[in-house]
């Protein structure tokens, strides 16, 4: 199968993630959509690594995985903190700061 198909799949996953961030309300789901975007990127990196014939892309995918893990730690702790004070994780309810 042509590697281009994987690039298209990756673009599709990235688009799904983007739309998810824009339309979903729950902070956890929004965050999951961001993770989907990062993983779509990983697929791209690995595919390009195959197309280019060098290993850089695979190494970069590992970096992205590590960064994503660190982001989960920080992100979930922030969402936990706001959930404790507000009893909700909806991003629409966090509306004290505006204008």
């Amino acid at each position: 199968m042509s590697p281009t198909n994987y690039l298209l799949l990756s673009a599709l996953l990235f688009a799904i993630g983007t739309v998810g961030v824009l339309v979903r309300r729950n902070a956890i789901v929004v965050f999951m959509c961001v993770e989907l975007m990062l993983n779509a990127t990983n697929l791209s990196l690995v595919t390009f690594s195959r197309i280019n014939g060098n290993l850089d892309g695979q190494v970069m995918a590992l970096f992205v995985i590590v960064v994503a893990a660190a982001e989960v730690v920080v992100g979930l702790s922030i969402i936990m903190a706001i959930f404790r004070t507000r009893r909700t994780a909806s991003v629409d309810d966090a509306n004290l700061l505006k204008y």
Binding site: L7, S10, F14, G17, V21, A27, V30, F31, V34, M37, L38, A40, T41, S44, L45, T47, F48, S49, I51, N52, N54, L55, D56, G57, V59, M60, F63, V64, V67, A70, E71, V74, G75, S77, I78, I79, A81, I82, T85, R86, V91, A94, N95, L96, L97, K98, Y99
Partner: protein, 542 residues
């Protein structure tokens, strides 16, 4: 990075002298984390403060030694980090800005116990567990909208609550990320550095003691939008890797100059990377997080973030534009003209309508990001040195302003609202005069650093054939002067409200931080030559 055959022993040999500032910060940050685990709670703050300041000063000394001895520019760590003249200037700026920021963060005089105290409820629960106290500070209900006033500030006989000393390692790690970000010579290093600088900042924003709901909300917004923007950035990196077969900036430039390849990948990748970078620099249409986070975060954190993140982000933008995309500039510059204009207009127009001083500073930073972008788009040595000088000047002025904002306090914390500044000159002439001076610097009045910086950036833009952009910039500066002057008029020509906010007497640390900011603003306005020369000392090394 390169294919294995390219990695030779020489390329892997680490130039420790060139990397010294990064290594000092890294070791310092780890020591700081260890202190957090080893020392008892009440002894941490002075030790952490001393260690943090020592680490920052040492790193700054290392930068100055390297810059003054005229060591050759090198690319170290197999092409990952480029230690060249702009890197050294940016590192020096970041570390110099970090000193007043740390002093503001550590100050406990304005708010008893400091800005970063544990949650009053958690504190009360802990006290109940210990059983040491009866009724001290546990009388707060669930925090209502707008935040709670905990019972922590009262001298109720118990041991004074200690601040969250985690802020110090956070600041050191964020600084490490910033230094690596503006010196990164390949895009994956830039991505990792972007996260290293962002993650501690997300956490710092949510640590405020008062107005906890606002603070946490700003942290959530910053985090979700920041993660969204870094996802765009890394997808752009993937596309550019597909284009050039390497993520090293100079390889991308070489590939663009070589035989024809897919323009879709090149410009798609550039567009996505630009989204990520512009987000961090709070430019134009990607600024949506800025006002909320500036307002919601503790003011000392806002000062650190506003000054240092801008320096790091624009350093990276300059490097990417110059090294990787300098050769294709004609094809993409038009689009970024639109971004720069959008940024200046949005910042100026929305800045006029603001009623909260911190939000006004935020919109002013969006407008300033547009001015800075003019300097970045002029891909010339003059544009480079102008932008670098602008970053130095803007950083110190912003820290001074936010330090002054933290002094004006109403019943429940900082006044913030512009009406609280009415007649401030009668209550405290010194604070009002300093704030006026800094606002004039932001407006770009001569004899302040703001004028020199704007002049350097605009003249570089003009010389590079961007006259329309510079005209928009001048018009926006003129309009923006209105909302800076409005605050000054309010402070000097109206009567203070009888129950209005008071001006706290700053402790030594805040005083030093504010004085430093004001002094540098004045110095760079009167005698800019030395700094301008250092900013123009050299260009990027690919």
């Amino acid at each position: 990075m390169g294919v294995p055959s390219q990695i030779t022993a020489a390329a892997l040999g680490v130039d420790y002298a060139a990397l010294a500032p990064l290594l000092i910060l890294f070791v310092g940050a780890i020591v700081s984390v260890l202190i957090e685990t080893v020392l008892p709670h009440h002894r941490r703050r002075p030790v952490q403060l001393a260690v943090t300041l020592a680490v920052v000063v040492l790193a700054l000394a290392a930068v100055i030694v390297r810059a003054t001895t005229g060591a050759a520019d090198v690319v170290v760590l197999a092409g990952a980090i480029s230690v060249d003249a702009p890197s050294l200037f940016l590192w020096g700026t970041l570390l110099a800005l970090a000193i007043p920021s740390v002093l503001l963060l550590a100050d406990r005089s304005i708010e008893p116990g400091g800005v970063f105290l544990p949650d009053p409820e958690a504190l009360a629960a802990a006290r109940d567990r210990v059983g040491a106290l009866a009724g001290g500070g546990s009388d707060t209900g669930r925090p209502g909208a707008g935040g709670s006033r905990g019972g922590t500030g009262s001298g109720d006989g118990g041991p004074a609550p200690e601040m969250h000393t985690e802020v110090f390692p956070f600041v050191l790690f964020a600084l490490l990320g910033m230094l690596a970000f503006c010196a990164a010579n390949d895009l994956i290093t830039m991505f990792v550095a972007l996260e290293v600088l962002s993650l501690p900042l997300y956490l710092l924003c949510g640590l405020a003691r008062r107005r906890r709901l606002l603070s946490q909300e700003s942290a959530v917004k910053y985090f979700l939008l920041g993660a969204f923007a870094s996802a765009f950035f890394i997808y752009g990196v993937a596309l550019l890797y597909g284009y050039a077969g390497s993520v090293r900036l100079s390889d991308i430039a070489a590939a663009a100059a070589g035989p024809l390849r897919s323009d879709t990948l090149l410009f798609g990748g550039l567009a996505l990377i630009v989204v990520g970078l512009m987000f961090k620099a709070s430019v134009g249409p990607f600024h949506t997080w800025t006002p909320d986070v500036y307002q919601g975060a503790p003011t000392a954190v806002t000062a650190f973030m506003a000054a240092c993140t801008k320096v790091a982000a624009f350093g990276a933008i300059l490097r990417v534009f110059t090294v990787a995309f300098g050769t294709t500039a004609l094809e993409w510059r038009g689009v970024l003209w639109a971004v720069a204009i959008a940024s200046m207009v949005i910042g100026t127009v929305l800045g006029i309508t603001q009623t909260d001083l911190k939000r006004m500073v935020a919109y002013s930073s969006v407008a300033h990001a547009g001015f800075l972008l003019i300097g970045c788009l002029a891909i010339t040595p003059a544009g480079l040195s102008g932008t670098l000088f602008y970053l130095l000047a803007y950083g110190f002025t912003t820290i001074a302003i936010l330090g002054l904002v933290s002094l004006v306090r109403g019943g429940d914390g900082e006044a913030g609202h512009l009406s609280g500044y009415a007649g401030l000159a009668q209550r405290s002439p010194v604070v009002a005069a300093s704030l006026s001076f800094c606002l004039l610097a932001l407006a770009g009045v001569p004899l302040t650093s703001g004028f020199t910086a704007k002049f350097a950036v605009f003249s570089a833009g003009l010389a590079d054939g961007m006259a329309p952009l510079v005209i928009v910039g001048l018009v926006c500066s003129a309009i923006a002067a209105f909302f800076y002057l409005r605050v000054i008029v309010l402070m000097y020509f109206s009567d203070p409200a009888p129950d209005g906010p008071t001006v706290s007497l700053p402790g030594p640390m805040t005083t030093v931080a504010i004085t430093l900011g004001v002094a540098v603003t004045l110095l760079l306005g009167v005698l800019p030559t030395a700094a301008l020369e250092w900013a123009g000392a050299g260009t990027f090394l690919g």
